[in-house]
């Protein structure tokens, strides 16, 4: 259980930064493409 939790938090730590950055960039690119 503890191991599961740590691997889950590791997964989140690994992916949260690229996820958020990709999200913001997507929104910007989309807005610029549509204006």
């Amino acid at each position: 259980m503890n191991k599961d939790k740590s691997s889950f938090s590791k997964f989140i730590l690994n992916n949260i930064k690229p996820f958020l950055m990709a999200l913001v960039t997507t929104v910007i690119v989309f807005i610029v493409a549509k204006i």
Binding site: K17, A22, I28, F30, A33
Partner: protein, 270 residues
């Protein structure tokens, strides 16, 4: 004087316009852009190119905000040109790294994860002990702390070991006149991945004359691949650490331990 007679839209109007004209197909567009960007970011993050991601992110953010507030006629076109230019500049600046990542297959060996903290501490202590002993006995050694990012060609030039880290094994490998003592030992996580590996030498001519081929190999490798090299001089027993093409000489145990901690700590959050 405006020929079209249009009143320039404010940024808020533009955003409102986008929200009002949002269609289901736009969602698909968003998803595709997001997927591509996420995959590219993930690859760059995995290859330790965080700075590049941040630069690209800031670049897109700034140009995006600029286009939103300016009244240029075809912002998407300008954005496309700017992004293209950015990619061309990056590709020409980091040609070696990009070529390396595209053309060299990465080692198949999966990175070992370090579950327990004690495992990491044992690895650190074993490496420190081996390096200390070799330094004391003037045994030349070069240890590469890899992040599973060494080109396969380097690993294949040596012998795959995939064994647990132990001071005795490291010392035995570097014992003079043994078959593997001349090459580099590659540590990947909590395993000794390979030994006797041949490395590219540094081409720089301004290096100090008392740096032997081991030091040159360490510098040469770390300037192209994001790894750390620990080098023990055969003549003097001096411990050096090479990183990013720079070498720090006369390293004591504290600095060595700190470097190893950094390596394993980074490994744990990767």
């Amino acid at each position: 004087m405006r020929l079209t007679g249009e009143i320039p839209m404010s940024a808020i109007d533009k955003l409102k316009n986008i929200v009002n004209n949002f269609q289901l197909i736009s969602l698909l567009e968003l998803l595709i852009i997001f997927a591509v960007l996420f995959i590219v970011y993930k690859i760059l993050f995995k290859n330790n190119a965080q700075k590049l991601v941040w630069i690209y992110f800031a670049f897109t953010l700034l140009t995006g905000v600029y286009f939103l507030f300016s009244n240029i006629k075809y912002p998407a076109l300008y954005m496309l040109v700017l992004q293209g230019l950015f990619i061309v500049i990056i590709l020409s600046l980091f040609a070696t790294e990009v070529k390396r990542d595209i053309w060299t297959k990465r080692a198949d060996h999966k990175h070992e994860s370090h579950g327990a903290k004690t495992d990491t501490n044992v690895c650190i202590e074993e490496i420190v002990r081996a390096v200390q002993n070799m330094s004391k006995n003037d045994v030349g050694a070069i240890i590469i702390l890899s992040n599973n990012n060494l080109p396969t060609a380097i690993l294949e030039s040596g012998v795959y070991l995939d064994s647990t880290i132990s001071a005795q094994l490291i010392e035995s490998i570097f014992f003079p006149k043994t078959a593997l003592h001349d090459g580099a030992l590659v540590i990947n996580g909590s395993k000794i991945q390979a030994a006797g590996c041949f490395l590219p030498l540094a081409q720089e001519v301004n290096l100090s004359k008392d740096l032997g081929s081991r030091h040159r190999a360490g510098i040469g490798l770390t300037e192209t691949v994001n790894v750390t090299a620990i080098i023990v001089s055969e003549e003097t027993g001096i411990i050096s650490i090479a990183k990013g093409g720079k070498i720090v000489r006369y390293v004591d145990t504290t600095v060595l331990r700190e470097t190893l901690k950094q390596y394993y700590w980074q490994d744990m959050i990767d």
